[in-house]
Subunit: 522 residues, 2 copies
């Protein structure tokens, strides 16, 4: 692949790492891809963090328009890579062209949306409480508040979104939008894709005349570089999308620092889907087809993949199972992201199939190599409740149907669930009473509640929550997709009786930026 050097990005520099090298691998062919990516050293981590720290004050002091321009420039540069980006990503991930072109669009849209958010200035939460010099018994001072960035942010790319949740994905976009420099640890499954995007960001930094430390990109085998990055005292927050074990390991490092820092780890979720009796009576075959389409989408490699179905026994459910088995039987096997993920998926399916009282209800077409073969299993609510291991995510196109003897068991199953990213409900008019009873419980368990659809397809929007109670994420107060994600990297600062000339523009009395502000609470 021309133009790939295998080097690290440390601010404005490109240097070759000195650690153990990683390579991209084509999961469809098993072929090793050039170049080699020698890993960063601890000194490289140090340097990237030092530069990020130096860049923080000048970067956050930029006018909002300049910060927004930078995000848009990144988007333009990513598009400017052209088809080489799609081809390299296809080779490294096994994902089809259409999916990756869509993901590139999503990545670019995300950067542009955050540029809009920055320009609009609402994220600053500017507040002005004017002085009340005559207030009794004591005068009130002038108080003004704005949000500022937390400081340099460490971002860990995800394997399953090589563009939209990787080097210039949602975490990076929202951190930069918040005024925080970013040090990315690239995911080892797509180093070439990471390098191409890293170059686009590094160029944008230079083109916009920003301090070089606004962005660095490190490669590294194993976990040492990631841990060192999170442990560095200059890093003030962490964005991560990946496995539960990976997220919890970083959380532990962050909590063990002399100064603990927030970790936003989006980890694992089985995304319960409730098939209510009215909906099943009305349209079981249609729901079954839609379910199979959702569970097999992208080889099931989505955080929001529907891994758990919950329904009440009856004719409607029988019809659903029949329809799902039928649809799944013609589901083609799909190449998974890496050999390791394909292996883990196969083991997870075997484990589910071998669990007590679990039966196979449907299977996709046979797979070979690094492909995944879709699978649907079935278990009684009673057996599910007795075996917490059945809640473990099997990352891929597999789902478990929990059959409840009566509607009351829906509550018991939901109550037993850990925190999740999403829950979906398939409902008809007759189900309203049942749904109303379930909603308070669902709200406590998940970040997003979906009606008559599935969680796959996460809109980049203002009202999106891609988050949820632990262990779906490490911090339920936030989202990693959508404009609210910027709040993760901000903290409030209050200014008391600050001379007008010293006030930042967003807090000056005349409101020169014309941003929305809360004045005396209104």
């Amino acid at each position: 692949m021309t133009g790939l050097s295998g080097e690290l990005f440390i601010g404005a520099d490109r240097i070759s790492g000195s650690g153990q090298a990683i390579h991209g691998w084509n999961p469809a062919t098993g072929e090793r891809l050039d170049p080699a990516y020698p890993g960063a050293s601890l000194a490289d981590v140090e340097r990237a963090c030092g530069l990020a720290d130096e860049a923080f004050d000048p970067f956050r002091a930029l006018p909002l328009g300049a910060r927004a321009d930078f995000l848009e420039r990144i988007a333009a540069n990513i598009l400017g890579i052209g088809d080489a980006l799609i081809e390299r990503a296809m080779a490294e991930t096994g994902l089809p062209r259409g999916r990756l072109e869509g993901e590139r669009g999503r990545t670019v849209t995300q950067l542009r949306l955050f540029a809009e958010v920055v320009r609009a200035g609402r994220f600053l939460e500017a507040r002005v409480d004017p002085a009340q010099p005559d207030r009794q018994p004591a005068p009130r001072p002038d108080l003004r508040l704005r949000m500022i960035g937390l400081g340099p942010v460490a971002v860990f790319g995800a394997s399953n979104f090589p563009l939209a949740f990787s080097v210039a994905g949602g975490d990076t976009a929202s951190a930069l939008a918040a005024g925080c420099p970013v040090v990315v640890k690239a995911h080892s499954a797509h180093p070439g894709t990471s390098e191409l995007v890293g170059k686009a960001v590094q160029q944008a930094v230079a083109e916009c005349g920003l301090p070089a430390g606004v962005f660095s990109l490190l490669f590294g085998n194993g976990t040492d570089i990631g841990r060192a990055l999170v442990a560095d005292p200059r890093i003030k927050a962490v964005g991560f999308t990946g496995s539960r074990s990976g997220g919890l390991a970083l959380l532990e490092v962050a909590q063990g620092r002399p100064e603990p820092i927030p970790v936003y780890a989006e980890m694992s979720s089985i995304n319960p889907v409730l098939l209510l009796p009215g909906a099943l009576a009305e349209r079981a075959p249609e729901i079954a087809r839609a379910f199979v389409a959702s569970v097999t989408l992208g080889a099931g490699q989505f955080c929001t993949n529907p891994g758990l179905l919950v329904a009440v026994e009856g004719e409607g459910l029988d019809a659903f199972v029949e329809g799902a088995a039928l649809a799944m039987a013609s589901a083609e096997p799909q190449v998974m992201l890496t050999a390791g993920i394909a292996r883990a998926y196969g083991e997870g399916v075997d484990r589910l199939g071998a669990a007590g009282e679990v039966t196979l209800a449907g299977r996709g077409r046979a797979a070979s190599g690094n492909q995944g073969q879709a699978a649907l299993f079935s278990v009684s609510a009673k057996a599910f409740l007795a075996n917490p291991a059945l809640q473990e995510e099997v990352f891929g196109a597999a789902a478990l149907l929990v059959r409840c003897g009566e509607a009351a068991e829906l509550h018991s199953v939901l109550r037993a669930l850990q925190g999740q990213l999403t829950a979906a409900l398939h409902v008809a008019d007759g189900d309203a009473g049942l749904v109303q009873g379930l909603l308070p419980l669902l709200e406590r368990k998940v970040g997003r509640i979906i009606f008559n659809n599935f969680g796959t397809g996460v809109e980049v929007a203002h009202a999106m929550v891609h988050g949820g109670p632990f262990p779906a994420t490490s911090d339920s107060r936030t989202t990693s997709v959508g404009t609210l994600a910027i709040d993760r990297f901000l903290r409030p600062v209050s200014y008391q009786d600050m001379p007008e000339a010293l006030l930042p523009d967003e807090l000056k009395s005349a409101n020169p930026l014309a941003i929305p502000r809360l004045v005396d609470g209104a």
Copy 2:
């Protein structure tokens, strides 16, 4: 004291604890106060948390107006206690009547302000992204977002604000406003005051017809009850104001849970005060008098007490020191909150005075019993930078002046500081350039920057931040005073394609609550 029973409040019940008893003590007289407060058992903690969990869904489902009414009813009931509350608090804390009457006013104002916040509904951050069925390449679903409470909250009362940061103080008010039931662990220094306020809250729960578990109040000696409370799986967040060791201990418990939860611990701060050369040249004696008034206010027992002064050598600084020593010499000793706090203060002053290169620059009138004697010490910037122990908070009316050889040393001293609640700057026109250079650093170190005043006196306002980087607090993204404090106990939930009839009122299309909402980001 008539009307005090020494019992716990477990939901609607009053029961006598079975653990080791605590008593109030009058720090002015050393007298033990009746009644005894036998501690809660682990079963009492269990029951309080169970009731809180049961109360959560019905409580948060209340119309906003009813939730606001409840907060106002608590305020009215606290006023309804009358002078018995002030007298008991005076006896238990040694604080003077005027201060406690003021603090009661603050407590009531705070509850009423959060009632306003609840009615205004802005805290719900309601967002609506309408469906775009014709969007290409795929339709956009209807997405709506609102904030909901995290769940039951554990609140730990503070010793130094027996009303405003105790049973019905800022943490409780903001958690209830967020729709979260509260289980309070009373501070052992003012159990009688806690009981009186607890009764006012319990009555408000009954009068408003709320589920009993919305509020419980536990007494307990030592740390077992507090730890058990934070460890209980039904508790979803913690509010704490107190020592660093206490806050860090609770943080450790919270992080070690199977489901980690946020801890908002406001711990310790020495609140640097920068005396800039222009200001000292202009009005050193005036600043010196104001400083002594601030550092001795309430025997120095404020989180925002000015414990560190930083200034550049010169005639102005000499004049300041002379003025401060003079003002301090006539500062009367004041009774401290507890014998333990008075002892720790005395030890802290001795430790400071004995530290290498630290000299005494001023001293208040001699103290006896549980009184604290004001103290001002002085040290060179070089010696300060060489000894991190000089940053340790001495809780009480003591401060350390750091003398810088030149202006550049101001930066070095600030850079060496840990996170703080506040920084204050005393400036004159000629200091503007210096201040501009210091501001970015200050913003990274503190939650509130004050001009020409001191941090004592924390307004309950919209633009207040009473928070700051670790270790001033355990979570710099928040504030424990002011309306923004409600955000600590909220998390977002997104609803996708939810049938109109099922939507909560705040998200219905017609906006029946007439609250501010973000529609398509605008």
